[in-house]
Symmetry: C2
Subunit: 651 residues, 2 copies
């Protein structure tokens, strides 16, 4: 196993003389003293967590009030963040002695030498010649000179950034994948990919370039090099429009608009994470062609590797749930589903790929295949479980962001830097949306209107992922500037853009109160007229070749292998594979469905909008809403909004 | 805020010269090096967690197979532990160089001096005169001399013991409280309290005494003092009969038997935790009367304080859910419920009380009051959520225990110690069950039969709590002996007693296949004959005074304040409190019920077994089973077991 860290152990033999406190505790064993210290830390941790939980309770109660009074200008995430800012300010200003954010002795950026030990052992000799060796683990670079009062604030709101990546982000991202409206997603796949991949890269480069011009050339911040510029570009390019999507959902905006914003933001998180990694690993500060292509290789390698792990684990879960009867025990099934999904994250991380990308595609695969094999109870349980986890994690992160605003230990405020960053992200988004929309409109049947383009531009909120990327490493001054700018950008975009999105929809005259086109059509199919099915199939043929090919492949091979739906493998597989096909068909269940609904099934499943498909969005249309990215609160529709006729616009 | 840890900072100015690896990485910034180190640690963590998750997947699939084939001799927890042992052995023996469990330089137990710093700052000067200060946090006492290969195994299965207390135990304990069959529990309250409080103390003292005689006097293990003996007594007195209860549930044993075992084990965990704390805080090694009574004070103080916090938070949640309409949004309601429950744990910990006790009683209160106010959807969601969390946490802990068997870094094996421990726990349980049952039978109407006493004796398995208490502190040699003995005891009792419990029931001729008496009677009440209600009330009057008093108080004041059930506050409260009573009654809902079912309600609710009471076990008799302590798997009954007539015994 090739992951043994070289443990550089430095043995400091220190003869610690007793101070006042230790003299008082003299009747205690050293192990008791160690326990006391651990208990104190534990108490602190409990208080920290309690602070966040109280904030969450406050947020939940306020959201309830808002929902009750149909007040739609502040979303729960914005609220959580605002409360966080208030509490952070109180904690900060009530500290007995304020943090002096003094200048740190800066290191020149090209200084290099030994990496210090990750573990220190401290040998303490007691007067009776007994020895105890205490172990210390490196926590990172200390930002302050050793002054106990300085770390007071930090101790109050101390939270390990790795927790974001290992505990809080995975459920959010998984839920995004699991609740993806795949029909709409696949139909707009080309545009979404364009915005997400090309658009995020454009945004990254534009932001990086502007930051370089402003920060390095004009403002001349010390130690902020070109790599930092592009790292910031990557970090800040991750959009997170939960707030906007919640509004979209409540108002039932045009589905294509919805899926463009949702799809872009989901994929673009993945792209931004891989991009920021690529930039970090970019060794040379000179941009040679070779280095560029090697980075490109890393980018696609990491992305495809992570994608593969996620998809494979999803398919593996589908196979388990198909071929075992674990569905008879919903608790076991749900537990299995949960563990396998989380494993995809861990596996990618352990393979030094990107867990977030992996768990995103695992979520999509689970929804597309495994979901079909689950028992009815497990379908409900998994949906509700991830909905809750997503809700808790998201609000926790935004609370934490709010509180972090005042933590001066890992950030530095520079007004010019923040202003440059704002300019950069606006221009970056501009160069992303409008040129790409123009290009896309050349190829699209259904054009992306100017009002939708404006709305896409407006939906570029920053959120959890940008923050998580920024806080992951705050060891240098440049990183601390970035974290601070990221926090301010998140706060302002979430509150400003989030709050104004209802108005924005009205100003841009974007259709609201639209019934999901497909659902309407889906109901028609329910009535079973074959003309309709043929019509849909013809419609489908107008789609992009690649999407049509995928549908075909999915229907003929993937669906029947991983679920009990789709074509009959005995017909689609070549003759030589017949024994394999027989093994893959679950006799008892397949035959029942085949005998009865064979034709309908095959016709339907090619047309991806049919209600027989038994996907989350198909079998449970009324619950479909709950799955779709607005934290599920949309499932309980706001009362009192008059049912709007299709095509209505708010004026 | 009085929790500022004295941060003793030691500044070691070290000039670290580059080694081979650091020379290679010379082109990197120090912050990159720090990031590399963090990434390696992160990768290791991911691999560790992945190992446990794979074990869980394996366990789940095997359980499914066992359930499928109605193989009832191994419970999932036993299985998880067995798999853990196997994997632990593989990891241990496949390590390139085995751990040499060498003798540590032992310290005399009365050595005392300064507590070393909890944080070390290491200042590294780079050749260009730039300085970086790295921060190290104390992790405890290093058990090995600095030899990198020695920590290989530990790094593979490294897991912070605090995680048990903060993440894994709370859901298990909360679920126990939430799923408690309160009717049966209250009816047997006296006996359960006797076993749990007096019995656990007896067990602790007997085990401690026997360990003192054997280990200190006969075997004469160095540094194992009398305090350690009683600490071990407290640790090992926590019983955890999940396995037995699962069997009880599947076979539908006599409800009184079931609730005695369940109630005892739930409360006794709380008692053992507080006891072990009390023993640790017992300063003098001489047992004076004063010290004893001060310990008794600590014991009751901690217990009552923790109980109060849990109950208060439960009542507070009940009030929120009663007076807000948050129930219109089940997601918000479930999140609130979850957060409030977990807060009770954290609040007790932050107040230096015992979180586990607090969350247990919070669970009971939530089930008794809050559950009545929840929307139907939230009732289901909370039940399913905690069922899943309980399942995952429990199996994770048992897997971890299995793997820990081979971790020689924090335990020491001593065959005589383990044998003494076994003898001690058997005698301890003997002195607990039989004398107390004799005493109880003097007062009980329905005697506890000898066969039930034998079964109680047999159900004294050890599990998660004992392990968590033992692993919390392994700083001294004595503690390491205890951890090792605890692990072995858990493994053997879970597999042996758990596996044989079906046989045991048969040998002892204990009634199985019994329908829940109360459920039958409850159905009679459903038919609504008033005679029956009067009969039940008369039955109730035969109960112990204290229980009857509690019912009265609960019905008259608690239920109507915290829920919409129970008596009419306007009648039960004195006249001066009438305005308060009006505020506490939710007009819109109370009146509807009052106008219609006033008499029935008041009659019913006094009789604690009525189906109008709308508690978890009452409204959902078919789901009641799922709530009751066997990990909910019992909800899906084992197919193929013929319905047994009441009163049947297995012969």
């Amino acid at each position: 196993m090739g992951y043994q860290t070289p443990l550089l152990c430095i043995l400091c033999s220190l003869y610690v003389s007793g101070n006042a406190e230790s003299q008082k505790k003299c009747s205690k064993d050293p192990e008791d003293l160690a326990q006391d210290s651990a208990e104190k830390q534990h108490q602190l941790d409990s208080l920290n967590l309690l602070l966040f939980l109280s904030l969450l309770v406050l947020t939940i109660l306020t959201i309830w009030l808002f929902k009750q009074h149909r007040f739609r200008y502040v979303h729960e995430t914005g609220l959580a963040m605002l409360y966080g800012v208030i509490v952070g300010a109180i904690v900060y200003y009530s500290s007995s002695d304020k943090l002096n954010n003094h200048e740190r002795s800066s290191r020149s950026s090209n200084s290099c030498d030994a990496q210090p030990a990750s573990t220190l052992l401290l040998e303490v000799e007691y007067p009776d010649n007994s020895q105890v060796i205490y172990q210390y683990r490196q926590e990172g670079i200390a930002q302050n000179t050793p002054n106990a009062t300085n770390t007071d604030f930090e101790e109050k709101v101390n939270f390990d950034p790795e927790t974001f990546f290992n505990v809080l982000l995975p459920p959010i991202i998984f839920y995004a994948g699991y609740s993806l409206k795949r029909r709409h997603f696949f139909r707009n796949l080309g545009s979404i990919m364009m915005y997400a991949f090309l658009g995020t890269c454009i945004s990254c480069f534009v932001v990086g370039g502007i930051m370089y011009v402003f920060v390095v050339k004009l403002i001349q911040i010390e130690n902020f090099n070109i790599q930092d510029c592009f790292l910031f570009g990557a970090i800040i390019s991750a959009t997170d429009p939960v707030t906007v999507l919640a509004v979209f959902h409540d108002l039932h905006v045009d589905m294509d608009m919805y899926i463009l914003v949702f799809g872009e933001s989901v994929l673009n998180d993945a792209v931004a994470i891989v991009l920021s990694r690529t930039v970090t690993e970019f060794k040379d500060s000179s941009f040679t062609a070779g280095a560029f292509f090697s980075s490109l290789g890393v980018f696609f390698g990491v992305f495809i590797g992570s994608f593969a792990i996620g998809a494979l684990l999803g398919c593996f879960t589908a196979l388990i749930s198909k071929f075992t009867k674990v569905r008879e025990f919903p608790l076991l099934e749900t537990a299995l589903f949960f563990i396998m999904s989380y494993s995809s994250y861990l596996m990618a991380e352990a393979a030094q790929l990107t867990g977030i990308v992996s768990i995103l595609f695992c979520g999509v695969t689970q929804a597309h295949y495994t979901y079909n094999n689950l028992s009815e109870e497990s379908k409900r349980r998994t949906r509700e479980l991830f909905e809750l986890l997503n809700f808790l994690a998201e609000n926790f992160i935004f609370s934490y962001m709010g509180i972090s605003m005042f933590n001066k230990n890992n950030q530095q405020f520079n007004v010019l830097f923040v202003l440059s960053a704002f300019l950069a992200i606006i221009l970056g988004r501009l160069c992303n949306i409008y040129p790409l929309s123009f290009l896309l409109n050349l190829g699209r049947k259904k054009k992306i209107g100017m009002n939708i383009q404006h709305m896409l531009m407006f939906s570029g909120l920053r959120g959890a992922i940008a923050f998580a990327l920024a806080i992951r490493n705050t060891a240098s001054e440049s990183r601390q500037l970035m974290l601070n700018a990221t926090l301010i950008i998140v706060l302002i975009t979430v509150i400003f853009c989030g709050g104004l999105s209802t108005q924005m929809l009205a100003w841009l005259k974007i259709r609201v109160g639209v019934e999901d086109d497909d659902e309407q059509q889906g109901h028609h199919v329910d009535s079973g007229t074959i003309e309709h099915q043929l019509h849909r199939q013809r419609q489908k043929e107008k789609q992009a070749k690649i999407v049509a090919l995928w549908y075909e492949f999915d229907f003929k091979y993937m669906k029947p292998i991983f679920t009990n739906k789709g074509a009959d493998l005995r017909e689609t597989l070549p003759a030589c594979c017949l024994p394999v096909a027989h093994c893959l068909i679950k006799q008892d269940e397949m035959i029942v469905e085949d005998s009865d609904t064979d034709f309908i099934l095959s016709e339907d499943d090619i047309a991806p909008t049919d209600s027989n498909q038994d996907t989350p969005s198909d079998t449970l249309p009324e619950d479909d809403a709950a799955l779709d990215g607005d934290l599920g609160l949309g499932a309980t529709k706001l009362q009192g909004i008059p049912p709007m006729p299709s095509q209505q616009t708010i004026i």
